[in-house]
Amino acid sequence: MQRRHLLAAAAAGFAAPALAQGAARVLRVVPQSNLTSLDPVWTTAVVTRNHAFMVYDQLCAQDAKGEIRPQMAEGWVTEPDGLAVTFTLREGLRFHDGERVTARDCVASINRWARRDPFMQVLQPNVAEIQVLDDRRFRFRLRKPTPLLTMALGQTQFPCFIMPERIAQTDAFQQIRDPIGSGPFRFLPGEWNPGQRAAWAKFDGYVPRQEPVDGLAGGRAPRLDQVEWTVISDPATAANAMTTGEQDYWEYPLHDLLPLLKRNRQVVVEQRLLDGTYGICRFNTLHPPFDNPAIRRAVAMAVDQRDYLRAVAGNEPGGWEACEGVFTCGTPLANEAGSEVLKTHSLDRAKAALAEAGYKGEKVVLIAPGDYPQINALSLVTADILRRLGMNLELVSTDWGTLVQRRASKEPVERGGWSIIHTTSSGQSLTLPVYHLFLRANGPQAWFGWPDDPEIERLRGAWVEATDPAEGRRVAEALNHRAMEVMAYIPLGFYWQPSAWRRNVTGAFRAPATVFWNMSKT
């Protein structure tokens, strides 16, 4: 017992033992950021997705190996010709308001989600219709075989969560107001104070699968009575709260504070996410000097990923790794075909390449978000490289809110445009060409920077059409090779983002997202 609690108990006299009786298992969590929206279709914010994993369930989900397994679905059957896939729901599934989960709810939820999910939008032309067969069964009628369908439905990046039909009928661009799902925890709207607190209670009507937990697949058994998020924006205060035991779990501790937490015997610091966080240096390919691929490649020659990763995650052993390709390292498509340019690591050779490419001293505007420590650190390393290369750099330090607006500007730098921005991405998002945002090169439709390269787009289409893994792998190598020639962005390697929890928290497991089922507290 802490001294302060001892004093409080003494002051309360005989009331203290009474308070201790029947204590609920409440996990007090410091989330990565403020939960401002409850709708995982309306916004792609990771914190909203983490909330949604508690409240909603999925038809199918990724296991620790990345394979898709049934979750709400008892299973699915693909017709021999591949033109129909029938899903059957498990028995006993209920929403938090007591209503049964039916196939109609699933179809409405899929339709709403499909309007926003880029992966499903790629597959959507193949889908002729989604039919409700009965309360527990629905069928995708397909125009051609679509083996990626279950992968889209079970993905973690932009998961397809199942909501009641009446809620799922809301326009995909309007925020829902009613957070009713069928997941292992139910949201407590009365306790939600955005920016400070959010709470979920165990859903007693939840029927978990019987298999052991495996990534996001398997039994999602709620073992806590309540999960409470307290937003603590100041990392030093969050570290202090973990040290004193005022909080039990800190999702994303700042890397600088990890040594402090590791010294505390009551705190465990471990990796929970299965993938690292990848750094991205993005060029604006519309305007000089980075409309010239040779100049983009020259800058890439000066990059040493280790400098970036040390700037973000320090020198902790195992805290980061270089990954000199466009696909997530350690996943089936990862390769370094044509990545020699990223292995140059030479300022002198980069200077020579820059001169050869015809750089004429054009202004380079690099925007750095000061309120986003990791992305700011990546930005400052690039700024240093550009200065040492002798480029005409203007470093604009601003906040993330301004950056996300300014990065949409296609104007030249003299009229408020930009030349380089940085961002980070979960490894999950870079595993497959179909949702690899930074690999798209379809000009005005591409991600900010708007690269236009028909060959990359052709290869991406070829990967979607590929029917066997060997062919898919060959296409992925060609994609990596072409991406290094185009160099629309420089991959900056990845760092691990560990979590910290008090030693009395049990059942933490590794998964593609932060989830709280299977966890308990002694």
């Binding site: 792609t44 955005p194 603590i232 030093a236 309120d371 809110g401 945002l437």
Partner: protein, 313 residues
């Protein structure tokens, strides 16, 4: 005086109208786009445009401003772009911690700073005077967040007497409420104590030179009576003025203090709203702060008549 008070309250209306126009215009021209923040990285420009349209952010300035003013006049501050909750609800959720922090800081500061200033003036040139002035310089110089971290380190981490963060509502008991607020109030009060102590000392020094003080001494009045009944009452007007002006300091300081101690108050709500460009929340909170500031200054003006009967409105 009643007529004066009514006139002053009515005068807040044009002030608030100017503040409203100013805040709305500033937010309109400031960079940042909530639709882009909501849409996230995966969204296409068309998606961002659709979200912007659904939020009504694509409408002309005058239409949006007119609608906002009309809603305000009907007691509706709008709905947060992100949380979908009414701004009034969000303010209600956050007003108690901020109010508690400010009132406790104010009480602490006045009860410490005024005696400090009086004693420093009384013992002018002594070590007490120098110590008080040294503290005042320190109070002005050390940032609130540094004081906050040092206090948290000593009293929460090392001594384990007080919690590091959080807020307990007053209805859950005075001591739990105080336990959470005492460190933030001391941290926030440092600069305020310094300000009031300096002004009190300077004003008291001036008053203590006056003829009526000499007369009181000649009449055999005691030191305590001279200091607190004769001198302090006459020095009160500038002190009360500084206390009023200092409320702005408290509002600004509350933003930092609430972040350091994770207090769910209006300061943090404002910062979060600014970073996300949640326009209705920013407008609502700034309007509220302006209104409070105007009212506090009105209260100070009315208090003058208590301390100086020569003042008539």
């Amino acid at each position: 005086m009643f007529a004066y008070a009514v006139r002053r309250v009515l005068a807040t209306i044009p002030v608030m109208a100017i503040v409203a126009l100013f805040v709305f215009s500033l937010l309109y021209i400031a960079p940042g786009d909530p639709a882009a923040v909501i849409a996230g990285d995966q969204a296409t420009p068309q998606d961002v445009e659709r979200i912007r349209a659904s939020l009504g952010l694509d409408r002309p300035f005058l239409v949006r401003f007119g609608e906002w003013v009309w809603n305000i006049l009907n007691g509706n501050m709008g709905v947060s772009i992100f949380t979908n909750l009414p701004v009034t609800t969000m303010i209600q959720q956050r007003i108690e911690p901020t109010l508690s922090l400010m009132v406790l800081t104010l009480c602490l500061a006045v009860s410490i700073a005024v005696p400090m200033g009086v004693i420093a003036a009384w013992k002018q040139g002594s070590w007490i005077d120098r110590a008080v002035m040294g503290f005042a310089v320190l109070g002005f110089s050390v940032p609130v967040f540094v004081v906050g971290y040092v206090l948290a380190y000593i009293f929460a981490l090392e001594l384990d007497w007080l919690p590091v963060q959080g807020y307990t509502a007053f209805r859950e008991g005075f001591f739990p409420w105080l336990e959470n607020l005492i460190l933030p109030a001391i941290a926030l009060g440092g600069v305020y104590i310094a300000l009031i102590a300096r002004i009190t000392r300077a004003t008291m020094l001036e008053v203590l030179q006056q003829d009526y003080i000499r007369t009181a001494r000649a009449k055999g009045a005691g030191q305590r009576s001279i200091l607190f009944l004769h001198a302090l009452k006459n020095a009160a007007v500038p002190i009360v003025t500084v206390i009023g002006i200092g409320v702005a300091l408290l509002i600004g300081g509350a933003v930092v203090t609430e972040s350091v101690f994770a207090i769910p108050g209006l300061g943090r709500l404002t910062v979060d709203a600014i970073l996300r460009r949640d326009y209705p929340v920013i407008q609502g909170v700034v309007l509220l702060f302006s209104f409070v500031y105007v009212l506090v200054n009105l209260l100070i003006d009315l208090l003058y008549t208590l301390f100086d009967p020569r003042i008539r409105y």
